[in-house]
Amino acid sequence: MKTKYEIKQLKLTHFKKYSKLNLEFSSGLNVLTGKNGVGKTSILDAIRLLVFGKVYFAATDKSCLSHGADFLRAEINIFDNEKEPHNVVVKLQHGKNKQIEHDGIKVSKLSEYIGQYLSVCVSPDDIILVNGLSKDRREFIDQAIVQFDKLYTRNLIRYTKAVKQRNALLKQFLKSGTYDKSLTNAFEKIMLETAPYIHQARVSFMKEFQSYFLKSYHEIAPEYESVYLEYDSKLSENTMEELLIQYEQTDRFSGRSNVGTHKDEVNMKLNGEDIKVFGSQGQIKSFVFALKISLFEYFANKTGRLPVLLLDDMFDKLDRSRVEKILLQLNERWGAQVFISDTDKNRIATFLTGKGEKINHIHIFEDQSITYLNV
């Protein structure tokens, strides 16, 4: 049996529009309804902040502080299969570092906490996975791998810092017309140590993840279309060392690092072509949704633990029959704990009545007061 973590309670203080909020959740489907702007997404983000250590839907953690408040506090109680209770508290304060406490113990580094609980977030903005920059696609891969591979997190942090320092150095050299190879080498040494691990982990992830993605896509869009994710990295052909030698002059005269895992790309293909160029809106929506939703099953099989699923405003993207099918599947096959927001007060309830599903329905009014409309 897979380990399931179940969030029972959420307590917020000065989180976005909520000066104080206490919520109770059920182990299955939790539906948050209310008009646009009442703060449904904030609740999803609070959960994400607590289980992952960072928000997803908002731009930054700090932007979740209520207007005029000088601190924010969020807390959840989580139970695992053994009914063992866990507790997570996040505190944010202006001018101070974020503080996370897990079961009463202060977490000294975020990188040590990430992966404690798994989560998958789905947002209408995920469309940037197709339309956005390659940085957005790398972030998708990174946010997936860091949740189950601590060594990856460590290597990624080291690599990223080394590249930043090397870029600053190259820029200074360019400006001053000097060049000190022993100094660039010093930062390259760290890139050489870390890049192979990052590359290998991404290769394995993309290989394993592909079949989950294909399955999801065909469940969402049953019409026959061939889709494919192609991991594109210069490190697949050459070693980091060879690449740094090849690009030495380019880097030197452009004042930045032009090669490495920070330039990796994921090409997204539909019927052999770039989906960004050749896909219809509907195809792109299904593609992006499949990317995110398949992470759930991937995580479950890879780690033996069930992620918490946070779905924001998904009816924007997909029609009723598809959403219904996915929700029922997640529930039947996995017994997943799902949080879903919707502007329509009755839509999800209507979908699922008579299908034997219990819904914990929380409705939020415009003054941020709440009521439970459980059926």
């Binding site: 080394a162 320092q165 200074q172 000190d180 022993s182 010093a186 930062f187 040494k189």
Partner: protein, 202 residues
Amino acid sequence: MKFSSTLLENAVNAFSKLPGVGRKSALRMVLHLLKDQTQKSEKIIQGLLDVNEKLKTCKICYNYSDDDVCMICSDEHRLKNVLCVVESIRDVMAIEDTQQFSGRYHILGGVISPLDGVGPDDLNIDTLIQRVRHDNIEEIIMAVSPSIEGETTTFYISKKLKPLEVKISLIARGVSFGGDLEYADELTLGRSIVSRTPYLQS
């Protein structure tokens, strides 16, 4: 905070500029000094004036010193051929507290960090190389922080020292050191110096 006197307010403002001192603790300190009968204020003022006017930097290791050469560098009982390389004066004090190291020090004044505008020329690296070249140094113990910047600094220094064939070692990993030296407990820090490992050049 409302004051009945601008003199009092000025004193509190001055104290609250110190690191880690808020206005409340500043007020407490000032009120304490006002009530004191033992000339505490005068001693503090004299101490600070002396430090400001007379304190020197040791021209060998860059530690603070009364004279041109500090008490550690001029101590004939200390090993002359082993140097411990640290970032700051506070690191020297933390290592001295362990009583496990009987060599001498070299204070870099930071680590290489282009993002912060700190390059090798801003640090006491050249003088370190001079010391190794001219003072018969046999071993360098690198005790800088285990950050990317610390590692890079160690690597850079090791490259510069390569032609001089001096032995380079690292203080044992796993304990916090470098920038955190002052927070490491004496026992673990002491052990990490004793059980240092050779730095492997690649």
